[in-house]
């Protein structure tokens, strides 16, 4: 990490970490619209942080532009509120330079999937050890209400008065298609689940990608109510739990089974199917992950929520450090005088 950085980091006396959630709240006034789903995500993040057992100074939040990207200002850690779409790239460079840090990327459906889409997919295939939280509200909030790359076809907004003619991304499928090692979905209005998923993402070594359905109560209110409100959520959401069958419904009376490669809803009470017929979730099976991610916009199926995939593989930053360590142990730490005088040289007397 360079001698000066080493001096600062290794000689520092890091606090013996016994934090509570409010230790992670900065002195900045939180300025999202009242009722915004972002508040819950911030609260859950601050709540899980003490469990990480990592000194506050070793944590960095990096964001781009958009409502969600204000997030770093509210965390009492290090942070960068950068430029539109580039948080993933900035965080990648930071993590490569400083593998000792825990680095989070806070982004949204516009920042992360539209202007920053290219960096996002390359981060995922590279598997830099970052935790990405993508606030998906299916709208552009900060610019006051244009459609986003996750808005539904036909969406009427300020920029699409006759309805959007764009098809939306399925963020989970996009992530899986980009070889993202950890892919999950959760909801702003399910704090316990949100906390669980954030924790799992933090603990996972490699790129972890968490899509959070987040309500924008000003420009796209209720976009996810079907999945978050009491009346409808049980019949509209299926929670993916590793090693468990896909059961859902208010009375846990429905399940998902595979018909060939296609998931279908079956009743557990009509005598035709039992729990033994259902699909068992396996976080380590990427084929299954694709099938479940593709349930997303299928109106006949409940919305899958949970950890689609968690398959560790060597990280980019880890491999980068390994190559450097291997070179130094083989050739020794470089000397400038030797480097300058390498190649074809000659003496002039």
């Amino acid at each position: 990490m360079g001698k000066l950085v080493d001096d600062v980091v290794t000689q520092a006396e890091h606090a013996s970490v016994k934090y509570v959630a409010k230790d992670f709240a900065s002195d900045q006034e939180v300025r999202w619209c009242p009722g915004c789903g972002d508040y819950s995500i911030l609260a859950q993040m601050q709540r899980i942080m003490p469990d990480m057992n990592i000194p506050r100074e070793k944590i960095v939040f990096v964001s781009g532009i958009g409502c969600s990207s204000r997030f770093p200002y509210y965390m009492n850690t290090y942070g960068i509120h950068s430029i539109h779409g580039r948080a993933t790239a900035i965080a990648s460079g930071l993590k490569m330079a400083r593998p000792d840090l825990m680095v989070w990327v806070i982004t949204g459906d516009g920042d992360g999937l539209s202007i920053g889409g290219n960096h996002m997919i390359h981060l995922m295939r590279r598997n830099v050890d970052l935790n990405v939280v993508m606030f998906n509200n299916q709208i552009y909030g900060l610019t006051k209400g244009q459609y986003s790359p996750t808005s539904e076809f036909g969406k009427v907004t300020k920029s699409t008065p006759q309805g959007s003619i764009d098809y939306p991304f399925n963020p989970a499928a996009l992530a899986l298609g980009s070889s993202c090692a950890f892919v999950a979905r959760t909801l702003d209005r399910e704090p316990k689940h949100l906390q669980y998923v954030l924790k799992r993402a933090a603990e996972f070594k490699g790129t972890s990608y968490v899509e959070v359905y987040q309500n924008c109560n000003v420009f796209n209110d209720g976009a996810f109510f079907q999945f978050t409100e009491k009346e409808t959520k049980d019949d509209s959401v299926v929670y993916l739990e590793h090693g468990k069958p896909l059961v859902f419904g208010k009375n846990k009376d429905k399940g998902i089974k595979l018909d060939g490669f296609s998931p279908v809803v079956v009743s557990l009470t009509d005598g035709m199917h039992s729990i033994n017929d259902l699909l068992i979730h396996n976080e380590k099976d990427s084929t299954l992950a694709f099938i479940m991610a593709n349930m997303t916009y299928n109106a006949a199926l409940p919305r899958p929520v949970g950890i689609f995939q968690a398959i560790e593989r060597p990280t980019y930053d880890g491999e980068m450090s390994k190559q450097i360590d291997a070179t130094i142990s083989k050739r020794g730490r470089g000397s400038l005088d030797k480097l300058f005088a390498s190649g074809d040289t000659w003496m002039i007397q």
């Binding site: 100074e57 960095v60 430029i83 580039r86 960096h119 450097i324 000397s335 000659w346 002039i348």
Partner: protein
């Protein structure tokens, strides 16, 4: 027949052939041998943008020019004295760069009907008298190479790829050089391929012996060693020099070097070189695009690395917004632009100086960035080091402008020692007491560098306007105006910390020629020649363009006229006129080629004639 030996002070030769003919290797071997013999020299490769253009066509011609001598050599030479043409297209492309009466050595096998057609010749220039003003030496190099290797049982492809060394052997004879240096190089380079070593050595010697034995050459040339400063030398291209300068800066700053880059001609060699320096802890990241390249570097800089991004004009256009972020967050960052022909994709392999205004002004908002420019290939080392020094000391992005000509061109570099380079390390902030992220040093106006991992200094930075000192977001009108002025003042203050400009020649007179960047050699040569003729002309070369050395305003009024040659339509001249209200005269040719010193001499004559 007796062979006469003539002594020359300097000579320029050019090897030209198809892009698969190995002309770059031939040229660099001639260079290396001449360097070892103590000549001063300067080289310029000239290769097509296509990796393999159709064989024998004008678009596929690859050339390598070397200017060497017993006197100081500042440019790769305006015109060549000797042209080695491996085929008809190579002759056609390069003939206009040959002096009248110059020597042409042609490989006659490269002038068959197909070659002539591909080169657009109706009839062979070797037999129609069109070359009568030159000394032409036709040699069937292909055939002679074949004969030299007849008993080695090599494929015709391998034999064909050896013929460049026959030409090299002849040139070694003609300029009285030994073959040993190249023999040693072959043994080292192809240690695992004894057949390649053997065949190339044989053909190299065959070329030398052919020239020695056959009665076609009547003159040999002797070019004595130059009077160079004593010491160890190494032939270095500008791109390699930038890479070395950056590694050196990181070591002397006690930081790790991080490079975020995306491959682009003509800057990619810097990425290649640095990726080989892992034993210095150098981290190189080939990003998915130019934007990610600079963004990753900004992230690394926040983490406490000496961060760099390298590119050429079109890449810089993409990085623009992120440069603004580095300005706003006041993080150190070196941005190297190896300029090429523009606009748009332009001329990727050709040189130009047309990105100066982009570097100075090409961002949204009031976004001051220091701009440095290297003047020769070996100066690229020192200016890369200097760019890093300024970036770290002043917590700012810094542009280093080089160009395709400097990047690919080479010259002998007097190898420095680590001890000669200054310590540029600066401690990070560690004291949490009264820490404010945007508090500044009274003298430099630089903010302190506080990196993640430091307890008690947790803070957030970003692209939004900062409250003075505190660094929190501020929309306050007075604060914005103040911060705009502070950032500008910080960059201006760098002028206190850079060398004063020095005029080559008299400090007053009829004409001052002001240049910047890669035109140094051509201007220097032109000015020296005119001075030798008694003309009152001096040369000032700017390596610091923003801010400029503090004494420029004192120098300019001491000259009656000011000439600013640039390979653009007049960019530095705009800045000079604006800053100093001086009625400077431009000389501008934007042909993708370096200036010839003779064209600058002519312009000088034109201006002084009117006095």
């Amino acid at each position: 027949m007796s062979v006469e030996t003539k002594t020359l002070d300097e000579v320029t030769i050019r090897f030209a052939g198809d892009s698969g003919d190995g002309m770059q290797i031939t040229g660099s071997q001639f260079t290396s041998t001449s360097a070892v013999m103590g000549n001063d020299l300067s080289t310029l490769p000239d290769y097509p943008a296509e990796i393999r253009a159709p064989q024998g066509t004008l678009g596929g011609v690859s050339g390598f020019q070397i200017h060497f001598g017993s006197t100081a050599i500042n440019t790769p030479g305006d015109m060549c004295d000797v042209l080695v043409a491996m085929n008809a297209a190579a002759l056609k492309v390069n003939l206009r760069g040959l002096v009248d009466g110059g020597v042409i050595i042609v490989n006659t096998d490269g002038f068959n009907d197909k070659n002539l057609r591909s080169a657009g010749y109706d009839e062979s220039p070797l037999s129609n008298g069109s070359l009568s003003k030159y000394q032409v030496f036709p040699v069937d190099i292909s055939k002679l190479t074949e004969l030299a290797l007849a008993d080695m049982n090599l494929s015709s492809k391998v034999v064909d790829r050896t013929k460049n060394f026959f030409a090299l052997g002849m040139m070694y004879w003609m300029f009285n050089r030994q073959v040993e240096n190249t023999v040693e190089w072959l043994k080292m380079k192809f240690a695992k391929k004894p057949e390649i070593v053997e065949s190339n050595i044989r053909v190299l010697k065959a070329g030398w012996n052919y020239a020695e034995t056959v009665d076609i050459f009547t003159v040999r040339y002797d070019v004595k060693p130059a009077k160079l400063k004593a010491g160890r030398y190494r032939n270095l291209t500008g791109n390699s020099a930038v890479a070395l300068g950056l590694v050196a800066a990181a070591e002397k700053a006690k930081l790790d070097l991080f490079l975020g880059s995306y491959p682009i001609t003509p800057a990619s060699e810097i990425l290649h070189d640095l990726s080989g320096y892992k034993n210095f802890g150098v981290k190189t990241f080939q990003a998915e695009d130019e934007i990610a390249a600079i963004a990753s570097a900004i992230g690394a800089s926040f983490g406490g690395a000496l961060a760099v991004t390298t590119t050429s004009g079109p890449g810089l256009a993409l990085k623009t917004e992120a440069v603004g972020l580095a300005v706003m967050t006041e993080l150190p960052l070196v941005i190297v632009n190896v300029q090429r022909g523009g606009p748009s994709t332009g001329l990727p392999t050709k040189t130009e100086q047309a990105d100066l205004l982009q570097a100075l002004y090409g961002r949204n908002g009031e976004s001051p960035v220091p701009v440095l420019a290297a003047s020769t290939p070996s100066d690229c080392f020192y200016m890369a080091f200097e760019a890093a020094r300024i970036a770290l000391k002043y917590m700012t992005p810094v542009f280093l402008l080089t160009d395709g000509y400097l990047g690919n061109g080479s010259e002998p570099w007097l190898v420095p020692t680590e001890a000669e380079l200054p310590d540029i390390s600066k401690p990070f902030r560690t004291n949490p007491e009264n820490f404010q992220p945007y508090e500044r040093d009274d003298e430099t106006f630089a903010r302190e560098w506080a990196i993640p991992g430091t307890p008690g200094l947790e803070h957030r930075i970003g692209g939004l306007e900062k409250k003075n000192k505190a660094g929190s977001i501020s929309y306050d009108p007075e604060n914005h105006d103040l911060m705009i002025r502070i950032r500008a003042e910080k960059v201006e203050r760098i002028a206190n910390d850079i060398p004063l400009a020095k005029v080559d020649g008299d400090e007053s007179g009829d004409l001052l020629v002001i240049g910047w960047g890669g035109t140094y050699g051509a201007i220097r040569t032109a000015v020296e020649k005119r001075r030798a003729d008694g003309k009152s002309v001096s040369h000032l070369h700017l390596k610091y363009i923003n801010p400029m050395p503090k004494n420029i305003g004192e120098i300019l009024p001491k000259f009656k006229k000011i000439l600013v040659p640039e390979i653009n339509l007049g960019q530095l001249i705009k800045v000079l006129r604006e800053k100093f209200l001086v009625d400077a005269i431009g000389y501008n040719v934007v042909a993708g080629l370096p200036f010839k010193s003779t064209e600058i001499e002519q312009k000088i004559e034109e201006l002084l004639g009117g006095l």
